[in-house]
Amino acid sequence: MISLRHIYKYYDSKFQRTFVLKDIDLEISEGEFVTIMGPSGAGKSTLLNIVGMLDEPSEGEYYFLDQPVHKINEKKKVEFHRNYVGFIFQAFHLIDELTVYENIETPLVYKGMKVSLRKSVVADMLDRFNMVAKKDLFPAQLSGGQQQLVAIARAIAGKPKLLLADEPTGNLHSDQGKQIMELLKNLNNEGITIIQVTHNEEFAKYGKRIIRLADGMTSSDKTT
């Protein structure tokens, strides 16, 4: 599903080139649950952003569902975002001025889904995450764990094939974190490919495969 070949990411300043990622080769197939770990500045988030097509590699080739992402245009990328990729962030990144319901609805609207269908999908999501009573609240009125649930609901509402999670438990206490991780595990069991970035060794173990990064390079890649 995902194939990264010789991916480099660097920033040029006047006299030197700072590497964030160096020669990353990575194959991820459908249905995997991958954890990326590593110290601060190792390039975890950059890698995730490249995979999520939010960032572009400086060099290298990236194939997503056999399509060369390094060659496709903005429009096609939007297509991918709409249909195949969902995101979760450490800071949740809900839209403050929209209600829970509307936040979950957002990707469906942009996908061009019909109103009636949209309603049933969002209702399903609310039901699944036990948030029916909270659907008219605004993000600021929810706890961190609840906000992350909304974010996950939003990320999977469009039935993506790939879910990218950038430290999804980073802002949560451990109970809430566990709850989120269980949820991700279930989602993976349902067939969604998940790539998560985390610092937490315990939560890392939810992944079936752990990739460790150091100084922009893969230092280990183990399947548990």
């Binding site: 939010l54 939007v78 800071a91 990144h93 403050d96 001025e97 957002t106 990707p107």
Partner: protein, 808 residues
């Protein structure tokens, strides 16, 4: 729904934008329609492009005049000699005429004698009567629809009679109504209510507004050149050749500012000022909108990015923003239209015509387009958004728009100060302009003028009246009559004349004008009886075989009086006398066509240029003599403790002495104000515009300050935790502002100076453009800005830093 919520959440932004934009819309619409109305003057005639008015400058040095009317048969000669002139029509005003219909009497300034060609030059609509044969025989009159309705109650009035008394003639003339005209359109430079045929041959050569209808395609300049050449040969003998001018009909309203215009004209300069004002307000409102939408954009960057990650395209996001600004702009246009319509309704100024709907719609469309464009501009120009990752970012505000805005506001304040100062200055130059107890009975008919002495004596019997005087012209009008003169010790230049001004002998003391040499206390001055004797004597001298006995009798009665002349400073300047004392006691005489009316005498006093007349033009050199028969304007000083009583006295005395004439009076303050009505209106409107622009700028800066505070809460918190005092933080926050406003001040000063310098050129007498005006304007702007920002920053700076830092 979501949209409504956004508006509700951001109601402050929405309200600030709505205020600014709707005011800008209202100002723009009013100014635009007003400008169109002003530009449309006199264009409704089918051949308006071929009509011109002829005027002449007398070219007589200091006493030169260039009135809107012409005198004599010269235009008639031009008509018969030059085929390029197809037709000519003249309008001889009855001046402040008295119209008598049945037993109703009223004053009208809109009565004219005219030629039979009138309706063939101008295309005024005739409702009844034959316009082809109009004014072809004596005694015919056409009246306007509103006059007919008002005094006859119907427009079916042909055949009825009307009597009209020319202001300066002794008897009414009777006319038969020959037709009814539709009221002249508002955008005509004159509005005749009564048009009559000529009654005597004298009418054909007297002062008349004279219009030529030219052959199509006639070159106006070439024709003028030819006419001028003709004048050169005709006037060679007389010494001073007048200059002829041909003014296009369509230029009269906005570009003609001659003495004795047929009606008060508009002024292209005031239109340019208005357009500038509206443009400034529009700019400020747009800048506010631009700044605010940028600020809103910045605070929205996060949600925009999240939307993009969730599959929105930039076009979709732009659409959402555009929809909001579309709603804002529709609201603004509606409110603006409402304001402008109610304004024009309130001022009873009909600028809204059905045929302007398309234009208004077009302007609204353009306005909306720009608003939408400005609102989405940040989305497409911002670099922040091209980096799609959701991350923290620094953002700088645009300083430049604020700078422009404040420059405009400073310039507007400065201009308003100058405008108001100049009007105040002008007003105070006029004698007795602030005297609340001076009543003016202006533009009297001939009969009341002849009964002046009786009127005066009768009034003075009442203790409520403290003084009565009279003068040849109304306060604030023009003195244009000039005559030849002789003065001891003065070698006159050829053709040199002096303007003549007659007053009652107490004129100067009553108006509080002090002589700079000699005296204005004249002692004995001749009575009106003496004046009529003097006229009779002069006329008798001209007649052959005059009654010797009568002649001797009259000479005995009239002779023996030596005239007491007073000169003004301009007259001394013209004569080259620098020390006023030198003029006192010099022999002087006005060579009037009735020689006995202004006998030889001495100069007894010199007065300063006392600015009784209109200050648009320079003071004329005046020879002032105590005569009463030309004094068409009466002035009555009343006892301030008995005002009501005084007015009742004036009314009853008038009724007793002049029962056949209605009394029309006003306070001298109003008389002067009327002269500058245009300027006052201009000043008021522009002051309003300046106020609006200041308020809008303040709103703008308020919003920006609110935004930047929001984003600096953390910084302020950290500074406070590290020991900064409130004052230091205030200084920090206000430092930039002072810098911007200083720069704005530097930009605005020369611009404002230039504009006001131009405007002041309308006046012969002007205030100084002192530096402090601009400094004051800068300080006002600075104060407003500092107050606004300080209020915001005070709130931020006095907050508990813990609160600010809690969430980070």
């Amino acid at each position: 729904m979501k949209l409504l919520r956004r508006v509700k959440q951001n109601w402050q932004w929405f309200l600030i934008n709505l205020t600014g934009l709707s005011l800008a819309v209202a100002c723009s619409i009013v100014v635009l329609l007003y400008t169109l109305q002003q530009l449309s003057f006199d264009r409704f005639h089918s051949r308006s492009e071929d009509i011109c008015r002829i005027t002449m400058n007398t070219n007589r040095g200091a006493t030169s005049m260039h009135p809107a009317r012409v005198y004599g048969d010269q235009p008639g000669k031009f008509l018969s000699e030059y085929p390029a002139i197809e037709r000519m029509t003249r309008l001889v005003p009855f001046r402040n005429a008295i119209v008598k219909i049945g037993d109703q009497k009223f004053y009208s300034r809109n009565a004219f004698l005219t030629d039979s060609s009138f309706f063939r030059v101008f295309d005024f609509k005739v409702i009844s009567g034959n316009s082809e044969k109009a004014f072809s025989r004596p005694g015919q009159v056409f009246i306007s629809r509103s006059l007919a309705i008002k005094y006859f109650g119907s427009i079916d009035v042909v055949g009825k009679e009307i009597s009209i008394l020319h202001q300066q003639e002794p008897t009414f003339k009777v006319f038969t109504i020959d037709g009814v005209m539709e009221d002249f359109p508002l955008n005509s430079h004159f509005h005749a209510d009564l048009l009559t045929s000529f009654t005597s041959d004298d009418d054909l050569t007297t002062w008349a507004y004279t219009y030529f209808l030219l052959k199509k395609g006639t070159d106006l300049d070439a024709l003028r050149g030819t006419l001028q050449q003709k004048l050169e040969t005709d006037f060679k003998a007389t010494g001073s050749v007048p200059t002829v001018f041909l003014q296009k009909l369509t230029d009269l309203h906005l570009f003609s500012h001659k003495t004795r215009e047929i009606e008060n004209n508009g002024d292209i300069r005031s239109i340019i000022l208005l357009i500038t004002g509206a443009f400034i307000i529009l700019c400020i409102a747009f800048i506010n909108f631009f700044n605010l939408s940028r600020v809103q954009f910045i605070s929205r960057i996060k949600s925009i990015k999240v939307k993009l990650i969730n599959g929105a395209t930039r076009t979709i996001v732009a659409g959402e923003i555009a929809l909001e600004s579309l709603i804002l702009s529709i609201f603004s246009i509606s409110v603006g239209l409402f304001i402008s319509i109610s304004l024009s309704w309130h001022l009873s100024f009909p600028i809204f015509h059905p045929d302007k709907i398309f234009l208004i719609a077009l302007m609204s469309f353009i306005f909306t387009f720009f608003i939408v464009l400005l609102s989405v501009l940040p989305l497409f120009t911002s670099k922040i958004i091209s980096d799609i990752k959701v991350s923290s970012h620094k953002n700088k505000l645009y300083v430049f728009p604020l700078l422009v805005q404040f420059s405009l506001a400073v310039a507007a304040i400065a201009c308003t100060i100058v405008l108001n100062r100049q009007m105040d200055f002008i007003f105070k130059q006029h004698p007795a302009s602030q005297d609340e107890n001076m009543i003016v009975i202006a533009d009297n008919p001939r009969d009341p003028v002849e009964r002046y002495e009786v009127f005066k004596n009768e009034l003075l019997k009442s203790t409520s009246i403290t003084g009565v005087t009279a003068a040849m012209e109304d306060p604030g009008s023009d003195i244009i009559d000039a005559v030849d003169f002789e003065m001891e010790g003065i070698q006159k230049k050829e053709g040199q004349s002096i303007n003549i001004f007659t007053t009652d002998s107490n004129f100067f003391s009553l108006l509080g004008i002090r002589p700079i040499a000699g005296t204005t206390e004249l002692g004995y001055t001749p009575s009106q009886k003496w004046e009529s004797d003097a006229i009779e004597l002069s006329q008798l001298r001209e007649t052959k075989n005059a009654d010797k006995q009568k002649l001797a009798d009259l000479e005995k009665r009239v002779g023996g009086y030596r005239e007491k002349y007073i000169l003004n400073q301009s007259a001394l300047r013209m004569l080259g006398i620098f020390n006023p004392q030198e003029a006192i006691g010099k022999r002087f005489r006005l060579n009037f066509f009735l020689p006995d009316l202004f006998p030889e005498g001495e100069i007894v006093g010199v007065v300063p240029d006392f600015h009784y007349t209109n200050l648009h033009s320079e003071e004329k050199p005046l020879a002032i003599a105590p005569r009463k028969l030309f004094n068409y304007c009466f002035m009555i000083s009343i006892n301030p403790t008995q005002r009501g009583n005084a007015i009742a006295t004036i009314a009853s005395v008038w009724q007793k002495i002049n029962p056949e004439f209605p009394l029309q009076y006003e306070f001298i303050t109003d008389t002067y104000r009327k002269v500058y009505a245009g300027e006052y209106a201009q000043t008021r409107v522009l002051s309003l515009f300046a106020l609006i622009s200041i308020i809008l700028s303040a709103l703008g800066i308020f919003a920006m300050a609110a935004f930047s505070m929001q984003h600096r809460v953390k910084e302020i918190g950290i500074r406070k935790v590290n020991g900064a005092e409130v004052f230091e933080i205030l200084t920090l926050l206000n430092k930039d502002l002072v810098k911007w406003i200083s720069i704005a001040f530097l930009v605005a000063t020369p611009a404002g100076y230039y504009v006001m310098h131009k405007w002041l050129q309308n006046f012969a007498y002007k205030t100084e453009l002192s530096w402090w005006i601009f400094a004051l304007a800068g300080i006002i702007a600075l104060c407003i800005a500092l107050l606004t920002v300080s209020w915001m920053s005070w709130r931020a700076a006095t907050r508990n830093p813990v609160e600010a830092l809690r969430y980070e």
